[in-house]
């Protein structure tokens, strides 16, 4: 899932304080699962802003709303008229949602209530760990299913640096060394020999280094166009 965490409230207040009619707009997919931007969190945040506004003597109307997904128009289009009626939409969707809504909403500003952080999984209740970097050129078949791009602090491709200490990364003892995990996993799988080949410099272009990315699913596009005719 896409993991995000709510921005510090002081930062949010600085963003919203000069608006009169604010909608906190939640997304019930990824960011709801990580307890930061779903319907429940949008409601709580709206209530917090109302309280602050009242303390500060700022006349402000703050409402909340959530839809299933902010990244496909079919989910939020039906609510668009409602959404357009505000001075500010404070989105608690991920950054994709903020961008997508900004392009479709017209004159109303859309601000981020979250810091979108990474693609991750729930390793234990309440703990989310980055597992994929969306690099556009997957190498997991060569690394025992453990990603050196997302999970090695130096995105190394040929094994662990000298900073590995008892299986942890030199950046923090909270971070597992990806290459330690990869080596141990490859040993278990009996595929260590794959790690002895030198991986050449990567082509980073399919990642964010080739400019903003776009993917066209030709079969879907063709099918839709066929139906339209």
């Amino acid at each position: 899932m896409i993991v995000g965490s709510q921005k510090p409230f002081d930062e949010i207040w600085e963003m919203v304080k000069d608006f009169k009619k604010v909608l906190v707009f939640g997304c019930n997919t990824c960011v709801a699962i990580c307890h930061s931007g779903g319907a429940k969190e949008a409601e709580e945040l709206a209530s917090k802003i109302r309280m602050k506004a009242s303390q500060e003597g700022a006349g402000m109307q703050v409402d909340d709303l959530a839809v299933q997904r902010h990244c496909e128009p079919e989910y939020f289009e039906p609510e668009m008229e409602k959404v357009r009626g505000y001075d500010l939409v404070l989105s608690t969707a991920c950054g994709v949602g903020v961008n997508f809504l900004s392009e479709r909403i017209g004159e109303t500003p859309v601000y981020p209530g979250l810091n979108t952080t990474f693609f991750g999984a729930v390793t234990e209740p309440g703990v989310f760990v980055e597992m994929c970097a969306g690099c556009g050129d997957c190498v997991l078949h060569m690394t025992g299913g453990i990603c050196p791009i997302a999970r090695c602090s130096k995105t190394l491709m040929n094994g662990p640096c000298g900073g590995t200490d008892e299986g942890k990364c030199e950046v923090s003892s909270e971070i597992d060394c990806a290459w330690f995990l990869i080596v141990e996993r490859m040993k278990k799988l009996g595929t260590m020999e794959k790690l002895l080949e030198i991986k050449p410099p990567r082509n980073w272009a399919p990642g964010t280094h080739g400019g903003p990315r776009r993917m066209v699913a030709e079969h879907i596009k063709d099918m839709e166009e066929g139906e339209a005719q």
Binding site: M157, G162, S172, V183
Partner: protein, 326 residues
């Protein structure tokens, strides 16, 4: 003598069969060349070449390329360190061409301390910096080899003149996962490393085991392995390295020896320092001799960190002085 890859002094000493000695010179956080000049003049004569670190501990200092040129002008042959942290492959190759044009002949390829390191938290550093790591250290060694031996840039474009570097890499034999480390060493050599400098060795038995594995893999006949010696200065430093420096473990006996030296001074702080420094130099000399006795080892990389003045005595006591003039 077979033809040289770079013609560097370090390469010549290694080719001559003499045990090689490299040292380390850390450039300062300063725009003045004075400290580099001073350190270069202390180290000159005590080693065959000295590593010029590249913003070591992830703190801004005189660039390794500029400091290497300053050292070279003083008559100290530099091993320019090049990290993958701060430059992409375009900047790396441009700097390599520039370094070669300035007469620098040795280059050590390393990943580099992560930008969050900030001198192990002792300085502010630039923990919020964006890192690069476009290539890793093994890929970097391969890039140097391709430039030198094929006259090609990584992307494939030709070079009018190839930079002739003696290519080095670092090795942490005691790092986790330890059974993979000899294979990683082999990869570094497969990529083109002509010489290897190891992380500081205190645990001789561990190093012997890792070297035996390296011998099994046929590595030492294809590269020159220089065992790393970090000259200990105090019991506190040894304890710190044992506990906090990845890939370094210090046997208890060594820590106890230093503590004994410290205790012999009673309450006299100055004497405490002097006695520990004396003991530290002795330990360094012993380690050098033990490391040089291990099959496959071709020299030592001695780091007297911020203590360059200790080098001459250590090299002399280890029987490695004067350095060969080739």
């Amino acid at each position: 003598m077979k033809s040289m890859k770079s013609g560097s002094n370090l390469e010549k000493v290694i080719a001559s069969g003499n045990p090689a000695v490299t040292a380390e010179l850390g450039p300062p956080m300063s725009a003045s060349p004075d400290e580099v000049v001073e350190k270069a003049n202390i180290l000159k004569g005590c080693c065959d070449a000295a590593n010029i670190t590249d913003c070591q501990t992830a703190v801004v200092r005189i660039s390794s390329i500029a400091a290497a040129k300053i050292a070279l002008d003083q008559g100290l042959e530099p091993v320019m360190q090049m990290t993958c942290r701060d430059r992409n492959r375009i900047a790396i190759q441009a700097d390599l061409l520039g370094a070669a044009a300035l007469g620098i002949k040795n280059c050590l390829c390393i990943a580099g301390d992560h930008q969050s390191f900030s001198a192990a938290g002792r300085l502010k550093g630039h923990a919020g910096a964006k890192n690069v790591y476009d290539v890793d250290s093994i890929q970097l060694a391969g890039i140097l080899k391709k430039m030198r031996d094929e006259g090609l840039q990584e992307g494939g474009d030709p070079l009018h003149e190839s930079p002739e570097f003696f290519i080095g890499s670092a090795w942490t034999p005691g790092g986790d996962p330890m059974d993979f480390r000899p294979y990683r060493l082999k990869k570094k050599v497969d990529a083109g490393s002509d010489f290897i400098q190891t992380q500081g060795i205190y645990d001789i038995e561990m190093f012997k085991r890792q070297m035996a594995k390296a011998v099994e893999l046929g590595v030492p006949e294809r590269t020159a392995i220089l065992g790393g010696i970090i000259v200990p200065r105090s019991a506190m430093m040894l304890k710190y390295m044992d506990k906090s420096v990845a890939g370094v473990s210090v046997p208890k006996e060594l820590i106890e020896r230093m503590l004994k030296a410290k205790d012999a001074a009673g309450d006299d702080k100055k004497k405490m320092r002097e006695l520990q420094e004396e003991e530290g130099k002795k330990i360094a000399v012993e380690l050098i001799k033990q490391v040089l006795d291990i099959p496959g080892v071709k020299g030592v990389h001695i780091q007297a960190i911020e203590w360059e003045s200790a080098m001459e005595g250590i090299v002399k006591d280890a029987g490695l002085y004067p350095r060969p003039q080739l």
